[in-house]
Amino acid sequence: MKKVPLIMAVLTVAVLALFPLLRPEVYYLSFLFTLFMYVVLSSSWNVIGGYAGYLSFGHAAFFGIGAFATAKMATAFSLSPLLTILSSIPAGLLAALVALIVGYPCLRIRGPYFSVVTICFAFVVDLAVKNIEELGGAEGLWMTFMDLPEETSRAIMYEVMLLLMVVTLATVYLLGRSRFGRGLTAVRTDEEVAETMAIPTAKLKIQAFVVSAFFPGVAGGLFAYYLSYIHPDAVFSINISILIVLMAMFGGGGTWLGPIVGAVILTVVNEGLSTFAQAEIARIIYGALFIIVTIFMPDGIIAYFRRWATAQRKA
């Protein structure tokens, strides 16, 4: 990163980290917790979907696997709050392991077919969890939240999610600029040519898929603990999968900044609309936003502004 953007990034993180000291209302902490979570989800999706161009429409499955793994560990071993938070890391590893197993056959399929197979995968995981009694079946799992005043406990979860977001963004940034990231770009641009140039495309794709599943798994674990109640419909919904893709593509897939911009805009707009407008009207405006952005910025917001900036410089 060049010096100025790096300083800006560090400053932003510092301000966000100090924010709970102002003793804001719990609502704002909750809202930012969700926002950070979506940044994590869409940025890690971007590794496989944006960099490699394999649009996974089943990322909610990894999110949900992480959530249920943490919830199960916490209830089965009655873990302390700290251990519960830490247990989201093995939960993320489980999600990554599932990605490794599923990715092996699925990543051989290309284009829209890959998208459809990932949709099916998310459904299968969802239905399987609903049919397993030990995971609460269709009723879900209850967890006990930490025994602290609400402001403190929410602030702790806020900081943890912020940390996860920083780690995710740093990883994705470094990956994007590494040899690995350039390999993925080659896969997206032309997989056949990449293969002929001795780029190990199959290996790169699997690695990208595993990385892009790990962080959502951890986020899912934290989310489950935050809600202290987890139900399959809350984490496996196809709408979450679609939202992750839309946030990344809306901002601009394949760029580091795109998913961040997309997640922030869509979360803020969604929250604002649901506060100020009737539910259906809010959804209609939300839908219209997708249409307007795709017509005027078909390659995402970031690409649009880059083009605009180049045009300014030339003029």
Binding site: P112, Y113, L127, A288, T294
Partner: protein, 291 residues
């Protein structure tokens, strides 16, 4: 296994499958010919269903008549949608992605308009013959199901004849096989795309009416319908009309049989599990992309 039950579930599976095929064939065409994955396809099916529902409850119009009226109406609406929303997308670097995002937005808008106008309650198309059946020996064929089946069969056959026998239909197939070559032979791709899109949307309307004769529907039903569309289209091969029809029948029979013999919650698990395995081993459909 009771043979009567087996045959009865086969029959209902075939009927259901035919209807999914009519709903899916347009989805398959827009995907194959225009490289547009039309997420709001099933919502247009719902639009047809609500249109028939309103005409039936207010004026007692038969759903078959409504299907005949809705088809040209939706054709015109779809031409406008194409010109205003879909055509600008041809500039996008990744047309498939852009089209998915845009039509996802359109689906949200239409779904919520449906909620505003008709409320979120489930509706049922109940024509005067709703509870009557054609009884052959031990088997029951409910009239609404029969009508839905017949409507779908007619819809798919006419689309097939159109694609095979008319010049415009041949141009559509040419664009599906190779856009560049089609353009070189003087096919106006924008016109062909508009016609494809409009045909797809109007068959979706008729498919929605047929499906509404079999099941109840509500503004959110299109999400589940869409999943079945993906299923039918993938198994049948993208852009392949006959393939889509056969895939519809196969999937209908599988669901029909598993509904009869398995606990309900396992039916979908098996359907999607099968589809996953299928995609991994035969990603281009049972019948390939030519046909």
């Amino acid at each position: 296994m009771d043979p009567v039950l087996v045959i009865q579930s086969l029959i209902s599976g075939v009927m259901m499958g035919m209807v999914y095929a009519l709903l899916g064939v347009g989805f398959s065409l827009t995907w194959g010919v225009m490289h547009v994955i039309h997420i709001s396809h099933a919502v247009f099916g719902l639009l047809g269903a609500y249109f028939a529902y309103t005409l039936l409850t207010l004026y007692g119009v038969d759903p078959v008549v409504s299907a005949m009226v809705s088809t040209p109406l939706l054709f015109i609406v779809a031409c406008a949608v194409y010109q205003v929303l879909i055509r600008p997308l041809t500039k996008a670097r990744e047309m498939v992605v852009a089209s998915m995002i845009l039509t996802f937005g359109l689906a949200i808008i239409l779904e919520n308009l449906l909620v505003l106008v008709w409320k979120a309650d489930p509706r049922l198309l109940t024509p005067s013959y709703a509870s009557e059946s054609w009884i052959i020996g031990p088997f029951y064929l409910q009239y609404p199901h029969l009508i839905g089946f017949a409507l779908s069969l007619v819809g798919i056959s006419s689309l097939y004849v159109f694609l095979k026998k008319t010049t415009t239909g041949m141009a559509v197939r040419a664009a599906w096989q190779n856009q560049e070559a089609a353009r070189l032979y003087g096919v106006n791709l924008f016109r062909i795309s508009m016609i494809t899109f409009a045909l797809a949307v109007s068959t979706a309307g008729a498919g929605g009416i047929s499906l509404a004769l079999l099941y109840s529907f509500e503004p959110h039903s299109h999400n589940l319908w869409l999943i079945y569309l993906f299923l039918v289209v993938i198994v049948g091969g993208v852009g392949n009309v006959i393939g889509t029809a056969l895939a519809g029948l196969i999937i209908g029979v599988i669901t029909g049989l598993s509904m009869a013999f398995l606990p309900y919650q396992w039916v979908n698990l098996i359907t999607f599990g099968l589809l996953m395995v299928f995609l991994i081993f035969r990603p281009h459909g049972l019948f390939g992309e030519v046909g």
